[in-house]
């Protein structure tokens, strides 16, 4: 039985990784999850300098989901290279580094610093506000997506995967823009912008007022967007958004995702990644699927 997949020229032992921001750099979960079992660890977004993030409360639960407005708190690339990469290198898994920034220059600075690091793939979070363009997220404007992808591709030594925002009218537009800019792969979806009000206090639950919605409640939307994107571009796609079980993961694979990422489910079940991997293998055994590639995109 073969669970190996390849994406952007890299071979992964299985199609399961973590969604950025839900798993740190793996350290906090390493007591609970054998990181060697994962296809890849996708790290929390890293910027050129430390970011303190947003005021608290930063999270709120919603029906079947949650909102977060962490504000991409991260230690910056220096600490990340010194501490997090050597930690992950102890394990037999691929490393996908998520990169965030407030300007194109910020992103490029991080990508350049990563050029000599033993990193397999870069995932670029373009849902951050572009401070030079009035705060609209890079990922909400196809032109900006194409431009930033081009700039990053010029300096990147590793393959580049653009992480698309679902907060757009037509995700195939930004997907095609990233492909035109030279992206090697796409990942989607990032969180959907949402809101929650505490009616007793008559206040927003999140200090930031709005936050990114994730969890099982968004899965049908994510699956639809992954399917649309897979059919609009010819580069591979990593699917994510509410995946909690092997059944969820298989839906994304059948819709055409080459890999899947587990996010919020890690908070509900710290072993969610392993349960998904085991569940996929079990499905393959029960259905005499010799190679996982038979499943990828099998639903047209």
């Amino acid at each position: 039985m073969n669970t190996k997949v390849s994406l952007a020229g890299i071979e992964f032992k299985n199609p399961v990784t973590t969604a950025s921001g839900t798993f740190g750099s793996g350290m906090e979960y390493s007591d609970l999850v054998d990181l060697n079992r994962l296809g890849a660890v996708t790290t929390k977004g890293v910027a050129n300098v430390p970011w303190p993030g947003n005021p608290t409360p930063r999270v709120a639960e919603t029906y079947g989901g949650m909102l977060n407005a962490i504000g991409l708190q991260n230690p910056g690339i220096d600490v990340f290279l010194e501490r997090d990469i050597p930690f992950l290198k102890q394990y037999d898994t691929k490393i996908i580094v998520n990169v965030c920034g407030k300007t194109t220059e910020d992103y490029l600075a991080v990508v350049e610093r990563l050029s000599d690091a033993p990193v397999d793939l870069l995932e670029i979070n373009i849902s951050c506000p572009n401070v030079k363009e009035g705060g609209i997220a890079f990922g909400q404007n196809p032109k900006m997506v194409e431009e930033i992808t081009k700039e990053i591709k010029k300096v990147a030594k590793q393959p580049v995967m653009m992480k698309l925002s679902p907060n757009v009218t037509d995700i195939t537009q930004t997907a095609k823009a990233a492909e035109a800019g030279g992206a090697d792969a796409l990942s989607l979806i990032n969180t959907l912008t949402g809101m929650k009000i505490d009616i007793n206090r008559r206040k927003f639950l999140l200090a930031n007022k709005t936050g990114g919605m994730s969890g099982p409640a968004i899965k049908p939307v994510a699956l639809r967007m992954v399917y649309q994107t897979v059919n609009a571009v010819s580069i591979p796609v990593v699917g994510m958004g509410g995946i909690a079980t092997a059944e969820d993961a298989l839906e994304f694979l059948m819709a055409g995702a080459t890999m899947v990422a587990i996010g919020t489910a890690n908070f509900v079940n710290p072993r969610a990644t392993l349960d998904v991997i085991e569940g996929i293998e079990d499905y393959m055994r029960r259905n005499q699927v010799e190679d996982i590639k038979e499943l990828i995109g099998c639903v047209k």
Binding site: E28, G53, R58, V79
Partner: protein, 257 residues
Amino acid sequence: MANVGKVSAKIVSAEQLSEGIYSMWIEHKEMAVQAKPGQFISVYCTDGAKLLPRPISICDIDKEQGRLRMVYRVAGAGTKEISQKQAGDSIEVMGPLGNGYDLSEVKQAVLIGGGIGIPPMLALAKALSCEKTIVLGYRDAKTFLLDEFEACGKVVISTDDGSLGTKGNALDAIRANGVTGDMIFSCGPTPMLKGVKAFATEQGIAAQLSLEERMACGIGACLACVCQSKEVDHHTHVHNKRVCKDGPVFWAEEIEL
């Protein structure tokens, strides 16, 4: 010690103590052996629509029988579901989590619990063999755990409405009764903790404060539950310590409230 992960534990007893306040003893040997006063447990709901674990403080520890007690307030639909469980049911939990109180070098302890910050003071009171004064701030005369605290040492009470003990919060009771010591242990609402910190500074007494913040992962990965720290934190190198992992107990001078 290694986190034992999310496990199913048997509920040994479940009862209501007071209006909205519930007690639950759960059985899990490994968790009980590891547990320290001031730590908490992530408690998961059965209803899949309620995703996130509820962080609940450890109220009592029975290492011999391998049991842990949680006393909590029903604050929403999640804790309501948990409160409807009965002895014999099982419940999904992860823990013990967080650092707990530092019990070394204490000669005269002052334990200050306010509201739902009262329960963790019980495990602490039982673990401290030194001289101690226990200061409890309740809303009104509908108290909980009071007999058990009285069996552990001298107890001083405040109520918001003045129906029992000193009118006001735990700090008012401290001043009214001239309570003093060489180490303060506290857990309660932020305004009370601010008062405790100011009192400790003014009196030159070391203080350990247990904080509460909305959490998601409970193990230090998601960075939801940060508090402002005086020094640069070792995780992100900013001024944000993680309540779940670096706390929930902090030295008063370590954090900005």
